[in-house]
Amino acid sequence: MSFLRKLGKDPFGIFIFIALFLFIIGPMISVILWAFSVQWRYPSLLPTQWGLKFWSQTFKRADILQALPLSLFLSLIVTLISAVICLPAAYAFARLKFRGSQFFLLSFLATNAFPRFGLYITIAVIFLKLNLVSTVLGVVLIQLVNTLLFMIWIPTAAFKGVDKSLEEAALDVGASRFRVFWQITLPQVIPAISAALMLTFVGTFYETQGAILIGLPGVRTMPVLMLSLINNQLVVQYGAILSLTLWIPSLLMLFFARRALSGKSLAAGFGV
């Protein structure tokens, strides 16, 4: 009751909430309804026949059972490698003085500005030479490139945001540079880095263009399978069920990352 009274005091908030809810969640609700329907004919507002008939059919497909763990594994590996190569770079950008640091940092924006599809053919040619096409390594490399911007910019801003004198104070009491990084700097940038990691994971999980051109035929990820099932499948339910399934990792991320995301650190990564 008191909660309701509180809500009543914030009509603008309620308006924004309802409008956003309709716009953001509305499309998702239709997917959920489709996933649990057996038949849904216009003009019925709700499915004309409910049921899980298509769930078992979807998950009987061998390709899906293969692709799901592969996709999770790939995203995990890409995220890890991305962290391993990008975090030191981010630290260098934030803390070391070197000629051209600005140029190098900003150059990563270029990775996001050039339309990808044409590039992938050229990359495929290079990878064919290196025997990387249709291998996990090849897909990891191509997907890694897409993660660079977020994984460098966001942590760079986060490292910059750590007061330098906190590090100096630790050096001053005798900690080695490594220990300072590990025990003083890192704990303070954890929220921003975890936000970057999650964006990377989710982005990689859903990446399709690179996965098609470099991964096929040997490496088939979930979204690549989904492309055909969602847009080329007569039975709407397949796509709905897959959408819902694919969406679980995202939802978990959102649940865990909300705090990290809403912090200043993430926006700082874009230079705010």
Binding site: Y120, L128, G218, N232, Q233, V236
Partner: protein, 376 residues
């Protein structure tokens, strides 16, 4: 965790290293076809030719179907690398530009594919592709909304019906799935005296094309205001079919096989009717497979090509996917010939691939599609 990752990596390395016996088949068709491969053709082939395995990769519905992979294979052809692609279930060998002349595609003959001899002449367009199943585009309609008397039997009937029922008809973009394309082709035929023989693989000419298309664009632009939602052309066979399934429109051009499957799956209601135009059928066509000459497993690929032309598979084309065989009906089991006596035709009218096709698609985008804007 690390151990699991490592073992997964090892599994992938191993599986890619020891795959010489496996041909990579790329299937860019709709799901009824790729399901048919998974469930029928591939198990049958692997049983018949035990030394060859098939790895089917489904690319349909993505950005361009088999196109990106063909491009990759063509690039590999130029640099002499393994294309990681052995067989394209459906592709037009006139693409990529120049590839055919450079020897990128396998030239089929009875020498490398003994069953090539069985293919009906009407299906043969070029020796660089392998026609192996035919289907036709029909008019699918909702019986509850279209009166028995109004069901169109000629192009003129169809136009009359479309104009009398604004917003109830739609066809898909010609470059996205054949149902839309073949409706556009039918308009081109209509504008050129209903003579499909005017268009052959070799007689393309830019000026001639402009002249022949002009009439068709007039017909289609004339129709545009009466199409679904001021001519909102969906991007593919399936999205078009789904508009009918959702009751958004009452009539569409559709592939016979896909429509029949949709009805049996319950996606389209039982009350869906199918009809073919009688003055000149909507063209259908043969799905044509291609094999790149640099395929790592060329032998197995050719064996598969031969296998899909066997009476066994061709019978399955008729029975399982409701298509037309690419070989002479005489070669099929007698029981089947009897059962399908009504619909047997050795000729499905076609429209040539290559230059004519891409010129038509591009020209459609430039001349017909902008209607969307004009009417808004």
């Amino acid at each position: 965790m690390i151990r699991i990752c490592l073992s997964l990596v090892v599994v992938f390395i191993v599986s890619t290293t020891f795959s010489q016996e496996t041909i990579d088949l790329y299937n860019g068709s709709d799901t009824n076809i790729s399901d048919w491969y998974s469930n029928s053709i591939i198990p049958m082939f692997q049983a018949a030719v035990p030394e060859c395995k098939v790895n089917q990769v489904i690319t349909g519905g993505g950005a361009g179907g088999n196109d990106p992979i063909v491009d990759r294979a063509y690039a590999a052809f130029k640099t002499g690398d393994d294309p990681k692609a052995d067989y394209f279930e459906q592709f037009d060998p006139f693409r990529p530009v120049g590839a055919m002349d450079e020897g990128f595609w396998v030239e089929f003959s009875t020498d490398n594919v003994p069953n090539y001899a069985s293919i009906v002449d009407a299906a043969k367009e070029t020796p660089f592709n392998l026609p192996y199943r035919g289907s036709q585009v029909l008019i699918a309609y909702d019986k509850t909304k279209v009166n028995e008397a109004e069901v169109p039997h000629t192009w003129d009937d169809l136009v009359t019906w479309i104009k009398a029922n604004p917003g109830e008809f739609i066809y898909g973009r010609p470059d996205r799935g054949g149902s839309g394309r073949n409706f556009v082709v039918r308009a081109v035929h209509e504008a050129n005296g209903r003579d499909p023989s005017l268009f052959t693989v070799d007689n393309f000419d830019t000026a001639l094309a402009a002249e022949r298309f002009a009439g068709a664009w007039k017909i289609l632009n004339d129709l545009a205001p009466y199409l679904y939602d001021n001519a909102s052309y969906p991007a593919g066979n399936t999205p078009t079919l789904q508009l009918l399934a959702q009751g958004a429109v009452s009539m569409i051009p559709a592939w016979s096989d896909q429509a029949i499957q949709a009805i049996s799956l319950g996606v389209l209601p039982e009350s869906t009717g199918l009809v073919q135009l009688e003055d000149l059928p909507l063209v259908g066509g043969y799905a044509t497979s291609t094999i790149p000459t640099n395929a790592a497993n060329l032998d197995c690929s050719l064996k598969l090509a031969n296998f899909v032309l066997s009476p066994e598979v061709q019978a399955s084309v008729v029975e399982e996917i409701g298509g037309f065989p690419a070989i002479n009906w005489d070669l099929l089991p007698a029981e089947l010939q009897e059962r399908f006596a009504d619909v047997i035709t050795n000729q499905v009218p076609d429209f040539p691939g290559g230059d004519w096709n891409s010129a038509m698609n591009d020209s459609w985008y430039e001349n017909v599609a902008p209607n969307v804007n004009r009417n808004e």
